[in-house]
Symmetry: C2
Subunit: 399 residues, 2 copies
């Protein structure tokens, strides 16, 4: 199961929620294991998961009938505690009367004959009406439901109290389950391998586009999907979101990778720095300071520490170690189904780290006319400290 | 310019809108040329474009300050009639005092010193207050603005009337500008080349995953981003959203590709069918019927024709030509920044085709236990007919 159900049910109890409804693709996958493809690659398609509190009934997945094959084919990925699927909409799939059906096709055929509504909100309304939830307080992830549907829901179920719950999912998702950590670990490894593939072709004259192509190709080969590919050389590396151009790598240039794909729906976001030949002294000095800051983050991250304390200490170390004018709005963030999740390690965030959080810790620095320097590692908070998800060290790579 | 500004301003006039606000990544890019990376790869980050009617002032881009490098570096892609940028949020970028800055760095430095607000909605409120739009009727794309921000906007500007306008963007985007057609044409070509790359390795025993890897690798090499990769062999090809598995290609198997990447923000969505050796007779018969349906769509598509008339005629042809039980909910849809845009060619859609629309026309058929068969072409509606964006014919490819 992807979902941290203990944490969810505790939080629902605290907030007085009898049930919670996932509406964004991330929260639908999180709540059920179901990957609603059209919802992930577009904005608009609606799929939901209704998750009642333990004593209030069973969970129900509301899915467009054109996506049921994804449930049938990936049954092992569906959480077994989501026994009910309500489909909506018409989608024609025929059956060869003479053929023996394989198990996936049999499941799909059965699903196509299950309960069926005209549209997603009718299906959600029926799912609530057929549950023990009439008159209940129901949290709804307000970020994924179409505004016009929110109104219809409230009109159809006047005795049910709906309350925004996107923050509940954000809170719950911050502490990862073991299967989530496994996926994040693999996502991080794939991005490291892809950086290595790009560096393997990094000779004088190579373009940013060629580096990016090598990076993304390796990502695809490893079974992940390209998402983030900020790869810049020389002065262009100072652009925070640098998109690959025809710029060619020159001696002493910095190459900055701020990159990460998606593996089994989970994101990577890591950064590494290389130079073609020896770095100029300023780059070497700054890099040393940024790396000391990251080292300090590794020392500090553990359950019970405040996000703001890590921020203050890491920034202080970077300043002391050679970058006295260092300014930054955060030195890390959670990662999971989304590339940027709580907790964010900012100056004012009083959130306290917990075991199971997966963080990107980072000390980026952008100087126009010089370079962008950035080390970003993915780590998991353990019972008594931190474990890296990275295979590579944080040395500046002189190639 | 990506945006069809004539069509937008006409529609705004008809709807009594003094201005319109883009909020989704697609509509922000469409309105300004600006690619707000974080908004495209995540849900939550807010960037907007305020576009007044021609006599009501100038357009303004509201962008997170951590994305300004994308505006500075891709200045040629920014629409020149979006002269104003309001940034929000703090993002530290330093400057090497001794270095000469290149033009991009100079622009970025200037942008960082422009008007600046604490958060996106404060920036949007200021943009409206600094315009001629107080007391005006303003359409707002309700699909991309965070619900809590919608409330703040209404509270801060009580004399401005806000009205949902996602449908206005959908309507306007249906008729493409020449630069959009160019991008869609290239997106289609890239996906065709990627299918060819996959078929080049299609021998007995190859897995769906290997075919997909070849497909996506070629997509990346051509400068596009993988998005849609439904690639299935044998009976699995009947699963509409089939995701590549370890299933191996066998003699007489169908290979179905329903695929498409993203090129310069624009989507492809095409389908092709191959068989390993000669197809079984039923597949050949069905394919013939589906292809005749597609041929009929090519004959029918032209300005002035109703979507529903194309649907009725195409389904009738498929039934007559060898698939008498053919059922379908649509036989095509628009495509652009999104993979699925108006018009949708359904049984009841009275929308009338217009020159400049880019459509995916398709006749998919899924039969459990047999195969999925699908031919999907991207076409542009011309003044007096239709032009294909495809290089390949629609033959069933026997390999």
């Amino acid at each position: 199961m992807l979902m941290n159900s203990c944490r969810l049910f505790e939080r629902m109890k605290r907030d007085g929620l009898d049930a919670i409804i996932a509406t964004t693709p991330e929260n639908v996958t999180y709540s059920s294991g179901f990957w609603a493809m059209t919802q992930w690659i577009r904005r608009g398609p609606q799929n939901y998961v209704l998750t009642p509190a333990p004593e209030r009934g069973k969970a129900c997945l509301i899915a467009s009938s054109d996506l049921l094959d994804l449930a049938a084919d990936r049954i092992a990925e569906l959480d077994t505690w989501v026994p009910a699927i309500r489909a909506y909409g018409f989608f024609a799939i025929e059956r060869d009367g003479e053929a023996m059906l394989d198990p996936t096709s049999q499941r799909l055929e059965a699903m196509l004959q299950g309960p069926h509504d005209s549209d997603p909100i009718a299906a959600l309304i029926h799912a609530i009406q057929h549950s023990e939830l009439r008159g209940a307080t129901v949290g709804i992830d307000e970020d994924g439901i179409a505004p016009r549907f929110m109104d219809r829901l409230a009109d159809a179920l006047p005795r049910t109290k709906f309350t925004p719950a996107a923050d509940v999912f954000r809170f719950v998702r911050a502490v990862k389950t073991p299967v989530e950590v496994l996926r994040l670990r693999r996502a991080a490894s794939i991005s490291e391998e892809a950086i290595n593939a790009a560096l393997a072709i990094a000779v004088e004259g190579v373009t940013e586009i060629e580096l990016a192509c090598a990076f993304h190709t390796q990502t695809v080969r490893a079974g992940a999907t390209p998402v983030l590919g900020c790869i810049g050389v020389g002065a262009r590396s100072a652009f925070p979101n640098v998109q690959p151009s025809a710029q060619r790598l020159q001696p002493a240039d910095v190459i900055r990778f701020d990159v990460g794909g998606r593996y089994q729906h989970y994101r990577a976001d890591i950064a590494r720095i290389a130079t073609l030949g020896r770095p100029v002294p300023k780059v070497a000095r700054y890099y040393h300071a940024l790396r000391k800051g990251l080292d300090r983050a590794y020392e500090l991250v553990r359950p019970g520490v405040r996000a703001s304390d890590i921020f203050a200490e890491v920034v202080a170390v970077v300043r002391r170690e050679g970058l006295p004018h260092y300014r930054r709005h955060h030195v890390g963030h959670g990662i999971g189904l989304d590339g940027y999740e709580p907790p964010i390690l900012t100056e004012r965030n009083a959130d306290v780290l917990e075991a199971g959080m997966v963080l990107c810790i980072e000390t980026p620095y952008y100087e126009l006319g010089l370079a962008g320097l950035q080390i970003e590692d993915m780590v998991v908070v353990t019972k008594d400290g931190v474990e890296t998800l990275m295979a590579s060290d944080t040395d500046l790579r002189v190639i």
